[in-house]
Symmetry: C2
Subunit: 699 residues, 2 copies
């Protein structure tokens, strides 16, 4: 999710300047009671939509973002208590709520020895210092609870780099360029608190860990007794000291560099030509022999991080879970990330909880609300949860709904998800009024910003695919549970900001949201209504509103890309796409036939076991795409359709990646064997999926 | 399952004589109609028990074992048609039956160049030849369909060994000693056709492949399009030419060896002292400079092997499968292995099919009958099936019941299985009369031969655990499906034969069974009744008759072994068993509480969805013990309680094996870390199992 420019400290051959990727993120809330309707009750749905209150979401957000609540900090634990109190409220709480802790490895800057970035003159004296903290512009950027900007999991060290040094990079400085985050603007008068743009001293914090989950306990829940890797055996941490700085400081360093002009695409909005070094230019602000000294004193610490789970017990099928999650931890106040999601979560759970406690309503299936801990460090709370309850969740979870940041901006809904969730989101959003001028539904507004031409449906809003930007990652990639991520976001014609500008800084505060992002909180309300409607549809509908045949378009498009861009190459290596074509056709036919059977049954009065059996087919379809042996080098990724794709061809990721590696190898190489293996893995998954969709007594 | 003495051909430092292990094996059949009772119908059960006919089983066996039916041979394919015809019979067939083929790598001797074993004199002349075929004692050991004795997957080669040669072993000769197979008897008058013992020329065939499943397609179904390993990358084949011979020929070679006396435990019943070589003794039957020459011409071939599946569709829960399997392929006529099982399979399917076609009965759940192909080569048909339908089978299969060899001998029932199946086998066998004198139930007869003192139940028959001897292996180890294997077997006070003596030879014929193993076929009938009752109970009972709390005894016993034999050692390395103790206690409590809830519900009239939810907990418990990352070096094995144990301590296999490897390493070694990891894996599995057994709305 997160793109920043990286300023490298050359200790050798060449100074280093480029684009770096940092883990980025997202978050929501919700509630439920005692009568069990046969099917989705439209009156209950209308009641819930009407009761979700923008001003209560605003009140929630003010409380949640009052103080910084970094993962495992005292305020983070206070919020655990706040959630428990809300979810145990006798008037508006859930059936039960519990907090549980995992002992996980986090990374913090030292309070005694702050991380420092200096320019040191030829005689060793400090001639320039980068800011250690952000400027206190609103009274909220000071105080001991505002964590110093840092790169979590970057190792400690004090590299000092002569820009002209010959070999290797000894340290990395990271900053966010105004061109990428501020539509080019950079002066104090143009930035927060005068606009939504990032002030010059703002620094983006983030985790620099390559994987997700607790670094010491891959594939094991981080309970105290679990086996932990020796630190020497941990992979995925940055190799060298790294420190983020603001663009104000970055300008002073970067605009004084000498050397070759950096490529055009690397140029930014700091008001100078960016050069690659080595060394400072002789006519600049620093003596030519100056060096940059970086001191990183980050410390790894085992900490107890809490998840909070709140449950509404299903009246009819309590063993089917609609899971709704949002992380709780922030870098600083985190009004947007993640408290905009948590504010929605609490309002949803209040409205549903009130109906539950009044005895007006109880869903058919169970609804589970989750507040994850330590997401900012690498989706840690959610990942540990999926490791602890792997089998149970895989067998019983209907869908995972994630709302991390609920409102990036107030232009339109944005949905990422696997194809089966498209239909329920469409149904929900067609019935909700969009905030803003006009009388559009959320659906009709959405289609104006994100759309595609579907061979089946014509013009429809387009869903994005799920990467690893938030807590949905372990659910979709590791457990194979149909998932979605909901948020309100930008009008791209009005800003090119990579993300909302104060992301992960001490300027992501309540006033920022209240004044700039969503005055009136109508976008928050829209997300709450969308999520609420989706939850009710998934938990109350007699037949699960997951359209499995919507996977066909994805498969067709992957297949077409393979045929157009790879088939000729594959034929040279005697590799046929024929079995893949057959498998896709078989999937299509079985999915369409299942949808048809459900449609026929819906006209009659099917008995509950018949419905359960069909619903199990719908729920478990996504599981058939998992293969834990497909990508042995990728931790947790086992969904053969959504694993990370590094190859350029937009087809099945295993095939794309394997072809990209095999391309330049000799016929008969291991790399070409892997291409063949990857095709077989997809064929097996699709044939297995088709088998799962067939009438159940046909093997 | 199979133990033979191995006669080594020393080409080097020392001649080689020892005990070799060969893969061994087992097999049954069954049927089903249109009214759906709420619960197990005792009258139907009685009808089925009464209709299972010993004489029809005998007729089946005569037909099945009339000709050799080696995997993929024309007669093997004829039997596929026979099964399809029976299962499609309008009067006594099933709802549907289909055959499907996998393209798998098998190994056969060459018909043009038979495998040979000679003794060659100092001048190169052949002075002695081992038999190429077994002696034609009953008119059934001749003809082109009797495959020459061979060691499947042993590589071709023609090693010639000077016993005094200095380095390495160039080839291996394998034979079965009369001490191990014939209670010491070896003369023609004492052996078949004059008794059940192996004739001197009898040779045990077998597969020498180390893993199971098709060697070229691990983890992928062997459909034609699947990726196949390059032969150079296949592991698990024997490294050197290997050939089995009869004990008649083995005596001529072994009794002429010179050298040191072999250890006492290596001595056998060939009537001489076994020596280790090197070389023949000067005063023996061969000149002292003679060499043994072995020519192996086995060829690897891709062949189409068929599985046959017959289905009785469940009336209420067609998506729950009771799966019953038996392999079809034999080494020669295979009257015992596997046709004694197939004869039972066909009788069971006839009786159930007749009730089905008459409209008298249709089970609540689906019953699937399977006839597996190429089991003798390494459980190939069943393994490929589990690879092709992994997810579907895992999600839906209640239990896998295997009957390979149905009758080893006629003394008693013998059951191998996971703890949850104990209760259903006990219930079934208490109600069936045992064959033989007296008026005992099968249960009461069984307890006389195999018993143990259970802390919960007192004296009960003891079940063995499931290794990899037959087609249950992929179901329990790879898919985590509760499984059992049923057979009638020996009175160990009457014979010490490792297995029935004509196992895998051309003497395993119909007359052998009819005259010696089970005259009257009452033991076959007893197995058919036991299997039939178990199938009906599993497919018709409202609540699944799987007692999950019976796992507690296993866990307690594993835990106790760890505490008694490992705890002191573990404490020296600061490794605590505490978390394991807690996890076992948690499992016990949750399992007992679930059994109690079911018992309470059984007194009322629970609704079908409530029952379904509880049954899902019972069915899926076994799945929670799978961890595909627990034993990365073991192909297919992922059940953390039943993986192969090489350590001597009878505890959790991963813990036992890891401790055995760590014992002699330094504190802090990787091997000790693995011990800790293995404990965490078991703790996670047990905590996950307990979570699955909890009331479903509790996470």
């Amino acid at each position: 999710m997160q793109w920043t420019k990286v300023l490298g400290l050359g200790l050798g051959a060449a100074a280093f300047l480029g684009l770096g990727i940092i883990l980025g993120h997202f978050a929501i809330p919700k509630e439920a009671s005692v009568s069990a309707p046969q099917d989705l009750d439209l009156q209950i749905l209308e009641t819930v939509m009407g009761q979700l209150s923008a001003s209560r979401i605003r009140d929630n957000l003010r409380e949640l973002s009052r103080d910084p609540h970094l993962a495992t900090s005292p305020r983070d634990e206070d919020l655990v208590q706040l959630l428990l109190q809300r979810w145990r409220d006798p008037e508006s709480g859930l059936d039960s709520a519990e907090a549980s802790k995992y002992e996980v490895l986090l990374s913090f800057p030292s309070q005694e020895q702050p991380n420092l970035v200096h320019v040191v003159g030829p005689t060793g004296d400090i001639i320039y210092s980068c800011r250690q903290t952000e400027e206190n512009l609103t009274g909220e950027q000071g105080g001991p609870d505002v964590v110093q900007p840092y790169a979590a999991y970057a190792p400690p060290g004090t590299p000092q780099a002569v820009n002209a040094a010959k070999h290797g990079v000894a340290g990395v400085l990271v900053y966010t360029d105004p061109a990428d985050i501020n539509d080019g603007l950079s002066s104090p008068s143009e930035t927060f608190p005068n606009s939504w743009y990032l002030p010059p001293s703002g620094v983006e914090r983030g985790s620099y860990y390559e994987y997700f989950g607790d670094p010491l306990t891959p594939y094991l829940p981080a309970i105290p007794s679990s086996f932990r890797l020796d630190l020497a055996n941990v992979s995925g941490f940055p190799p060298i000291p790294t420190q983020p700085i603001g663009f104000q400081d970055a300008r002073d360093l970067l605009c004084n560099l000498s050397g070759t002009l950096a490529p055009t695409t690397w140029q930014g909005a700091l008001g100078c030509s960016y050069r690659l070094g080595p060394g400072f230019r002789p006519d600049g602000g620093f003596p030519a022999d100056s060096q940059v000294n970086v001191s990183v004193h980050n410390r790894l610490e085992l900490r107890n991080s809490s998840n909070v789970l709140g449950i509404i017990r299903g009246a009819v099928e309590p063993d089917r879970y609609v899971l709704y999650g949002n992380h709780r931890d922030s870098w600083v106040h985190g009004a947007v990330d993640p408290s905009s999601g948590t504010a929605v979560l609490l309002e949803l759970s209040r409205v549903l909880g009130t109906l539950l406690k009044k005895g007006t309503w109880r869903p058919r299936r169970s609804i589970v609300f989750a507040s994850w801990g330590a997401e900012e460090f690498g989706l840690i709370g959610s990942t540990e949860f999926t490791e602890e309850f792997f089998n149970k969740l895989q067998e019983r979870t209907v869908t995972y709904i994630n709302v991390d940041i609920s409102v990036f901006a107030n232009a339109t809904l944005r949905v990422q998800g696997t194809p089966p969730v498209q239909s329920v989101v469409f149904s929900a959003t067609k019935e909700i009024r969009s905030p803003g001028p006009g009388d559009l539904s959320i659906y009709d507004n959405w289609i104006r910003y994100f759309n595609r031409s579907s061979p089946v449906y014509g013009l429809v809003p387009s869903l994005g695919s799920l990467g690893a930007g938030s807590d949905y990652a372990p659910f979709i990639h590791f457990l194979g549970i149909s998932s979605m991520d909901l948020a309100y976001t930008y009008d791209r014609s009005k800003t090119s900001a990579r993300i909302y500008p104060t992301y992960h800084t001490a300027f992501d505060t309540f006033d920022y949201v209240d004044k700039f992002l969503d005055p009136g909180f109508s976008s928050h309300q829209a997300v709450a209504q969308t999520a609420g409607s989706v939850i009710l549809r998934l938990s109350d509908s007699f037949f699960l509103p997951l359209n499995v045949s919507d996977y066909s378009e994805t498969l067709r498009s992957f297949l077409q890309a393979a045929q157009q861009e790879l088939e000729a190459l594959l034929e040279q290596h005697s590799i046929s796409l024929g079995p893949l074509v057959t498998a896709v056709e078989k999937f299509d036919a079985e999915a369409a036939a299942l949808v048809e059977r459900i449609s026929t049954l819906q006209k009659g009065s099917p008995d509950p076991l018949q419905v359960r059996m069909l619903n199990d087919q719908l729920m478990l379809l996504e599981r058939t795409f998992l293969n834990p042996r497909a990508f042995p080098e990728e931790r947790y990724y086992s969904h053969v359709l959504w694993a990370p794709r590094t190859g350029s061809v937009a087809t099945f990721p295993g095939l794309s990646n394997a072809c990209s590696r095999a391309r330049d190898t000799a016929p008969g190489s291991e790399a070409w064997a892997e291409v063949q293996r990857q095709i077989s893995i997809v064929v097996m998954a699709l044939e297995g999926a088709a088998a799962t969709l067939r009438p159940v007594a046909d093997l």
